[in-house]
Amino acid sequence: MKSKGFGNTLRETREDGSISLRSLAKESGVDAAYLSRIERELNPAPKAEVIQKIAETLCQIMDLDTANCEKLKRTLLESSEQLVGHSDLIRDLKHRFADRLRDEGVEEHYIIDAIKKVSLESMENVLSGKEPLKIARKKSFSKQIIKEMKSPNEEVQMLKNISYGIDSLDADSASDYINRNAKSFSPNLQESIKAYSLAKPKPQPQKKSTFKAGSRAVIEIDGKLSPSQEEQLKSIANLVQSILKEK
């Protein structure tokens, strides 16, 4: 079944939470007229960063817990067809599903295979309690029963013993993990670290880049930027300009 578009999904979520378009626009900092055009699907879905911002605002207003908030983000990103590139959310879903399997006593090497095979939608449904999770050894069921189980609404997966680590599935390196968790260890870590290195004994004055976002805002960046980072910052500058309603 083809999923609904981003605009419809956003409108339904907002209305389910009894949130007015105006208050969502105000809290998220997205222009109300722009938001209205998106909801009516007159404008395409915005970029993932904006969707994240809208989703976080909805979570805050609706007072959602972390699991439901992540689910909402996934739904919105999926409806905008941008979930594929959004590895954090997928990874989070996979890890929560893996934890659920662990709770059920499934061995680690089978869990790795399950994470690869089970669809994200089924993981979501199991975790939200919409669908039951049944785990059994292959010999426990006859072929006929397994065939009957494979109805259009039920996903059945045969799991193999996969031996490599779960983290190899999302190719998450030690530095990815460190970057993701740096804040938990010290919010001011970067400020408090005085780094010395043989290669660079004396700190050099850093190059600054500025991006004007209209007459009222400037984005100033220390250090070098790659061409793709420059492109991204330019688009953010445009976004800031549109938020500030400059013409």
Partner: protein
């Protein structure tokens, strides 16, 4: 041609028969031995990507900081130009003195100069220091110089800043160890937190070491570096399949998970020629005369040379139900009982000391109360049973009340090493974990 690394398994019972139509207990000892090419032992140590993380909180002032600095300086002398070193110190703040520096002559001399400048300061942000050490080691991996890193944390105190919950520390250390960053903790003196440092070591797939002097610190760090080249298997897991008529309990406090009649036990790393033992207690329900109860065991591991996950052959061991007379006459394998008693005793002490450290004296005491009868039964055939039982009671009394100081730190460290089948890396004789009882 290089001989492929492998792990051999061996299963032994205290008695290989049980009386028919009677529920009874049997002890099972499983030994895992790392085997491979003996020549690799003589080869040079592989290059190491080391981050030394030094606690410089106020409590380290005086002998502890001097020991840590002196050890760090000597370690720079022992490293070679193939090795990279990072030095991080922490109090309530974290300072990276240098990161990922090649230990050639000028690198080592620079490092020694920097180490001299480390002074004691404020509170203890262990998690921040450890994390920064891991970040430095990760930098060398990102630059393509190394595939993995090794963080050694030196601390004499209890963390009171940053993440202090041992479970959380263990979780982060485990996440990073699965990404190639191993952590070893070194406790200095009488006041460090064995719980926090042990949590980093357990999660980080490294070890906790108890030390007193600079010489001790040098022994364990250099010992650890020496062992890096001898490690043949990582993430070793023992898989046991047992019959439905059996209840199986691991007597060592090792992480494990069950699924139906499978029991998977995490063993950690294994070195060439190292033997690790797992003690299990099996409660076997009534069997008819002549019936056999079979156990199947195999082991899986990540091979250090190829990074592939390997699986050993499955080995089977059975116990047969015989007449009560025959079962009573059957010889007891006392060397198995001895080893099982040693492992069990060390494991109980380690677990009870964790509760004692948490201030949960009732929980510590109940460990001894709940296991007293079974332990007594197992050691009944041993000549030194009275001595063992006296010690059992003595440790029970000790963990049931506040207990601090050097003797506890040393016992904690040594009981864990006994339980895990790890040798002490200290050159001085440290004796047994129970020498003070």
């Amino acid at each position: 041609m290089t001989k492929q690394n492998k792990i051999t398994l061996n299963m032994s019972w205290d008695k290989e028969v049980i009386p028919a139509e009677k529920k009874c207990e049997r002890s099972l000892l499983i030994n895992l031995k790392g085997e491979g090419d003996q020549k690799i032992k003589k080869k040079e140590r592989p290059p190491v990507n080391l981050a030394l993380v030094i606690d410089c909180s106020g409590s380290m002032e005086g002998a502890p900081i001097e020991a840590a600095k002196s050890a760090a300086k000597q370690i720079t002398e022992e490293l070679t130009q193939k090795d990279h070193l990072s030095i991080v110190s922490f109090d309530h703040e974290v300072e990276t003195h240098f990161s990922n520096v090649r230990m050639d002559k000028s690198g080592a001399s620079y490092a020694q100069g920097v180490i001299s400048e480390i002074y004691t300061r404020g509170m203890t942000n262990l998690s921040g220091g450890w994390f920064e050490g891991a970040r430095c080691a990760t930098k060398a991996i990102d630059q393509g110089d190394f595939n993995d890193g090794f963080v050694v944390v030196l601390s004499d105190g209890m963390a009171n800043r940053g993440i202090t919950d041992p479970k959380e520390l263990q979780m982060h250390a485990a996440e990073l160890s699965s990404r190639g960053i191993q952590t070893t903790s070194i406790g200095i003196g009488a006041h460090y937190s064995p719980l926090q440092l042990d949590a980093l070591a357990i999660g980080g797939q490294g070890r906790l070491h108890d030390t007193e002097t600079a010489e001790d610190i040098i022994d364990v760090v250099l010992g650890e570096l020496g062992e890096i080249g001898n490690t043949i298997a990582r993430n070793v897991k023992l898989h046991i399949q047992y019959p439905e008529s059996v209840e199986l309990k691991c007597l060592s406090k090792l992480k494990g998970e069950r699924s139906g009649n499978f029991y998977n036990i995490h063993i950690g790393n294994l070195q060439l020629n190292q033997t690790k033992s797992v003690a299990l207690l099996s409660e076997i329900y009534e069997q008819t005369l002549g019936q056999s109860v079979s156990f199947e065991v195999h082991v899986t591991w990540d091979d250090m040379d190829t990074n592939e996950r390997f699986e050993s052959k499955v080995i089977t061991s059975s116990i047969q139900a015989v007449s009560e007379d025959e079962a009573n006459r059957a010889e007891i394998n006392t060397s198995v009982v001895q080893k099982i008693a040693d492992l069990w005793e060390a494991s109980l002490a380690y677990e009870a000391m964790i509760f004692n450290e948490q201030g949960r004296f009732d929980a510590a005491s109940s460990i001894y109360e709940n296991n007293k009868m079974s332990y007594n039964q197992i050691i009944d055939s041993l000549e030194d049973r009275d001595k063992r039982m006296d010690r059992f009671k003595s440790v029970h009394r000790k963990v049931n009340a506040p207990w601090v100081g050097r003797s506890k730190r040393a016992s904690f460290d040594m009981s864990k090493k006994m339980m895990m089948g790890e040798s002490s890396l200290l050159k001085r004789n440290t004796g047994d974990w129970h020498d003070d009882f």
